[in-house]
């Protein structure tokens, strides 16, 4: 039995990250107000440093720490780099926004760093209480960040809902953990799987406990029917925080769920596989409700909230394909998480750029964006096509991979439902694309800036006798938007390259993904 402090050096990246967060808090006190965006750059530099540190120290290391509470393996390394990278891109996209719209930038970046620390630990936890504490580290940072727009009533409402429901779901999760402990006497994942395979009767306490854990995690994932906090929290939060909620916190929750399922439940699947039915039901409901309700949204953040609920459904569906025989399911989920995150970063970077320029966030506000700022329109269109599952973008490839895994596990109906709801999602993505490309821009306000360098849309054929597209003559005058800042451009261009690159040739990424999934499913 290894001692509690053996191999502690393997946690150096985590200690460094915590140190970085404290450093940001301290420097915040010393900097004058107008120089605070330095903190963003400091955080980015620090995160890149931690990535480098992890990549130098950790490859090939396999160890458990604190007597089996935390794992250092291929899986945790993959997610560590992934989360740190997400953090870098989220911060890069938010530096302008924070400067323009938010007070207290120091706390913003500091909390973001702490939440990334929580996410890293979530991917490493191999024990229920450790997982819970890591999850709370993430959640507490997020509670504050969602409420960051102090003077905005929606932000307050959203954050209040988020905190109350978050606390409630944490309680459920804890209650579930305690019942599992009472039934099995263990909280470590491998102990749970060993106990599940050996016990002779499944007592109701165990059932209830496992179900409560799933419910608690369902809240964190915003899976239907535990999703109702998500749209309000997304809408109320400042855009970078919405992005962070939709992308990073979701990916982290899945990292936790994936390890929990793979290490605690999958090895005992021949004795107890009812969890698959629960997961499949949650998945089916999430796909249906998320995508159908998204049809009715007008606000871009709410649209992204419901669309992300739909995507949670697809990823959860992939969970039924986890098995010790094949890595197809685990690969599919991780690939999907990466592809979804990258695509969403492009969407949110573009929305942040649009918001910085206009202060608007409703779908109709996007009208004529293809004329007003073509690159932004292209970035949103490409990423929406990707999320809708069309080639040559990563969305197509990741959906094909994941749904194949689901079908291969014997859940063809679930794969079919996923494919069908993917069609539904295409409809609302196309509505946004329609606003940008087909609807003419709203007429410019009285201060007519249209004499600037912007191009006028060429008039359509002048006199159309009976075939007149009367209801949308090009308005002629529109206000060209300023170019997005260089930072956001860099984020979007890199993101778009990845969206196309991974869609056309995902093999290198999948090799890395395979390393990660082999670490949690050694039999596969």
């Amino acid at each position: 039995m290894p001692g509690l402090t053996d191999n502690l050096y393997l946690l150096t990246p985590e200690f460094a990250l915590a140190g970085l967060a404290f450093l940001v808090f301290i420097i915040d006190l010393l900097l004058p107000e107008e120089r605070k965006d330095l903190l963003g750059w400091l955080s980015v530099a620090g995160l890149l440093g931690v990535v480098a540190l992890s990549l130098v120290m950790l490859p090939g290391k396999e160890a458990t720490l604190y007597g089996g509470l935390l794992a250092v393996d291929g899986y945790s390394l993959f997610f560590k780099v992934f989360f740190l990278g997400l953090g870098v891109f989220i911060i890069l996209s938010s530096i302008d926004y924070v400067k323009l719209h938010l007070n207290h930038p120091g706390e913003f970046y500091g909390l973001l760093l702490f939440s990334i620390l929580g996410m890293n630990l979530m991917a490493q936890s191999r024990e229920l209480l450790t997982a819970y504490i890591s999850l709370e580290l993430l959640s507490f940072s997020l509670y504050v960040m969602v409420a960051y727009a102090l003077n905005n009533a929606k932000s307050n409402e959203g954050s209040l809902k988020y905190i109350i429901i978050g606390a409630f779901s944490s309680a459920i999760l804890l209650y579930g953990i305690s019942m599992v402990y009472s039934a099995l006497g263990v909280t470590r994942f491998e102990g749970i799987s060993a106990a599940l395979s050996s016990i002779t009767d499944l007592r109701p306490a165990l059932w209830v406990g496992l179900a409560l854990i799933m419910v608690g995690l369902g809240f964190k994932l915003a899976a239907v029917p535990f999703h109702m906090w998500a749209p309000d929290a997304y809408e109320g939060a400042p855009l970078p925080v919405t992005a962070y909620l939709a992308i990073a916190s979701k990916a982290a929750a899945f990292a936790l769920v994936l390890r929990l399922l793979s290490e605690a439940f999958v090895p005992a699947a021949d004795r107890w596989d009812q969890w698959q039915i629960i997961v499949a039901t949650l998945a089916a409901l999430s796909m249906l409700v998320g995508n159908l309700v998204a049809l009715a949204q007008r606000n871009l953040k709410r649209l992204m909230a419901y669309s992300s609920i739909g995507h949670v459904g697809y990823i959860l569906a992939g969970a039924v394909a986890l098995s010790t025989d094949s890595l197809l399911g685990a690969n599919g989920i991780i690939f999907y998480l990466v592809g979804y995150s990258i695509t969403s970063i492009v969407v949110f970077a573009a929305l942040i750029a649009f918001f910085n320029a206009t202060g608007q966030e409703e779908i109709p506000d996007l009208a004529g964006l293809a004329d007003r700022q073509p690159f932004l329109a292209m970035a949103i269109a490409v990423s929406f096509f990707s999320l809708g599952g069309l080639p040559i973008f990563v969305g197509f490839t990741m959906k094909f991979y994941l749904f194949t895994a689901v079908a291969n596990a014997g859940y063809l109906w679930l794969a079919g439902l996923a494919i069908f709801t993917s069609l539904v999602s295409l409809y609302y993505y196309l509505q946004v694309i329609r606003q940008m490309y087909i609807q003419p821009a709203l007429a410019a306000p009285a201060t007519d800036a249209a004499d600037g360098p912007g191009e006028h849309p060429p008039a359509e054929p002048e006199s159309e006798h009976t075939h007149t597209p009367s209801h949308h003559e090009p308005s002629g005058d529109y206000e060209p938007l300023p170019r997005p800042s260089a930072l956001l451009l860099v984020v979007m261009v890199l993101g778009l390259v990845a969206v196309v690159g991974l869609g056309v040739y995902p093999a290198p990424l999948l090799e890395l993904v395979e390393g990660a999934s082999a670490a949690i499913l050694p039999g596969g």
């Binding site: 197809l328 094909f400 087909i438 191009e455």
Partner: protein, 504 residues
């Protein structure tokens, strides 16, 4: 095999795709540049298509230009395998011709020109891909790639139609087309997954069409399985082929689309559907296909009759062509469903012939609409006097579509009828009646709109531009050539058809 033979199919997919990506970096605003560049790219693909068709050895038959590129390892195992058989060869040629023609005709696109050609070339790449890949993943990949640009192509550059009491807007046409086609691909996708799972149960999960075909021949797919999976492909691909009653997107979409896109869409894209039924449905699920063919031939016959009657009652030139496409795709579906060598060869020949003729019709109607801004045949008349060349080429295409001997439509339809007479006599009779209705609406159209009395209202119309004349003349010559001497096409098609029918 020469190096060229090894690389040609990959080139044929990548050239338009690379052209699309490169176009994005052309300077915005100079619309001629984008057009010239697209001409350059599509000329290369046209040359490649002609060469690859000419180099296909019909004596040897089978799959040629075979090449496999590894793409993804286990556990999913997907390779990009390329090959072309006698059924794909004429369709590759068709795509080369129509894509080039569509790019030329799109000279008139002046609004966001660069974006237009990016999407058009991407579409062309997707179509090539479907014809030459040998893997279900990539087949579906390219199939979706061919569908994806349509929404923007129609929605941004299309035109709306006013029916007086209601509007058919371009947004409506674009969204309807997109949702129908993607709904079709939902079925296809489920079918592909079902095949993958079934192959897995037989011991080797795979998406390779060749490997799946071997499993099918070895009897690993039970008849019950085939009977429920085949209709997924039949309807899924059938939607794109304009199969009744899932055809309604097609006239609305074609009418709303700009000329070049209508040409590609009616000319080539609808053929993807019919091609998919043969390549995936019949080859991988022969027993299911045999069981469902009676249904397909009935639906195909309905297509012929229904499309013709609907065309008869339209007043808008583009709607007439749109419904005539539905009707003519019916012959293709019937030919496929005969499972008879002559009928199936006729079906593939009809795909080629209809592709050229309908593209020609849309090109000429586009030229007329460009000048008159009207497509109502009760208002337009006597165009021959004002736009002689355009009217003449339209007339050639019209005559080909009603099956005038000496033009390509006759040969193809005759072969389809021959196949159908030997297998489903009553339906063949109905289909011939459909051809007669086609003659009614085409001749009525020619008589009134083109050869009627000149109307002073149309004094100002100028004849087709040199580019339009070139495209018109080239396409009309192809129709004549195939009509007089179809052997260069049929002998290639035959080799492909025979190997498919060996399964039945």
């Amino acid at each position: 095999m020469t190096n060229f033979d090894q690389a040609v199919l990959l080139l044929i997919i990548l050239v338009p795709l690379a052209g699309a990506l490169l176009s994005m970096f052309l300077p915005r605003g100079r619309s001629e540049d984008a057009w010239y560049f697209a001409i350059f790219v599509s000329a290369i693909t046209l040359v490649l298509s002609v060469v690859v068709f000419a180099r296909y050895d019909f004596g040897a038959g089978g799959y040629q230009f075979v090449r496999t590129y590894e793409w993804l390892d286990a556990p999913l195992n997907i390779d990009l395998s390329l090959a072309m058989d006698g059924i794909a060869a004429p369709l590759v040629l068709l795509n080369g011709i129509v894509l080039f023609g569509a790019v030329l005709i799109s000279q008139t696109i002046k609004h966001r020109t660069r974006d237009f050609f990016v999407l058009l070339l991407a579409l062309g790449s997707g179509v090539y891909g479907v014809f030459v890949v040998q893997d279900l993943f990539f087949l579906f990949f390219f199939y979706e790639l061919a569908v994806l640009p349509m929404y923007l192509l129609i929605g941004v550059w299309g035109s709306s139609t006013d029916f007086g009491s209601f509007m058919r807007t371009k947004e409506y046409g674009a969204m309807k087309l997109m949702l129908f086609l993607v709904a079709g691909s939902v079925l296809i996708w489920i079918g592909i997954l079902a095949l993958y799972v079934a192959a897995g149960q037989a011991g080797s999960p795979t998406f390779s069409i060749e490997a799946l075909g071997e499993l099918a021949r070895a009897g690993h797919f039970s008849p019950a399985f085939q009977n429920w999976v085949f209709p997924l492909f039949m309807i899924g691909f059938g939607v794109l082929a304009g199969l009744w009653p899932f055809h309604t997107w097609s006239p609305d979409g074609h009418v709303a689309a700009p000329t070049g896109v209508s040409m590609l869409h009616a000319g080539v894209l609808m053929k993807l559907g019919a091609f998919g039924i043969i390549r995936v449905g019949m080859v991988l699920l022969p027993e299911g296909a045999a069981a469902w063919m009676p249904v397909l031939i009935v639906l195909g016959t309905v297509n012929v009759i229904y499309g013709a009657i609907a065309a008869l009652s339209q007043r808008d030139l583009k709607y007439i062509i749109g419904y005539s496409s539905v009707s003519h795709m019916g012959y293709v579906l019937m030919g496929i469903a005969t499972l008879h060598p002559v009928g199936l060869t006729g079906a593939v020949l009809q795909m080629f012939s209809h592709g050229i003729m309908t593209a020609l019709m849309f090109a000429m109607v586009g030229a007329i609409y460009e000048r008159s801004h009207i497509r109502d045949i009760t208002v337009l008349n006597g165009l021959m006097k004002r736009m002689g060349t355009a009217s003449f080429f339209f007339a050639v295409a019209g005559l080909a579509s009603l099956g005038l001997p000496g033009l390509s439509g006759f040969v193809a339809e005759f072969m389809v009828f021959t196949g159908a007479f030997r297998t489903y006599l009553p339906l063949a009779v109905l289909a011939v009646i459909g051809a007669a209705i086609t003659a009614v609406y085409i001749l009525r159209l020619l008589a009134r709109t083109f050869f009627g009395e000149a109307d002073p209202r149309w004094e100002h119309l100028t004849d087709a531009s040199p580019v339009e004349k070139t495209v018109g003349a080239a396409f009309a010559l192809i129709l004549l050539f195939v009509g007089v001497w179809p052997a260069p096409l049929t002998r290639v098609i035959n080799t492909g058809v025979e190997s498919v029918l060996l399964l039945f």
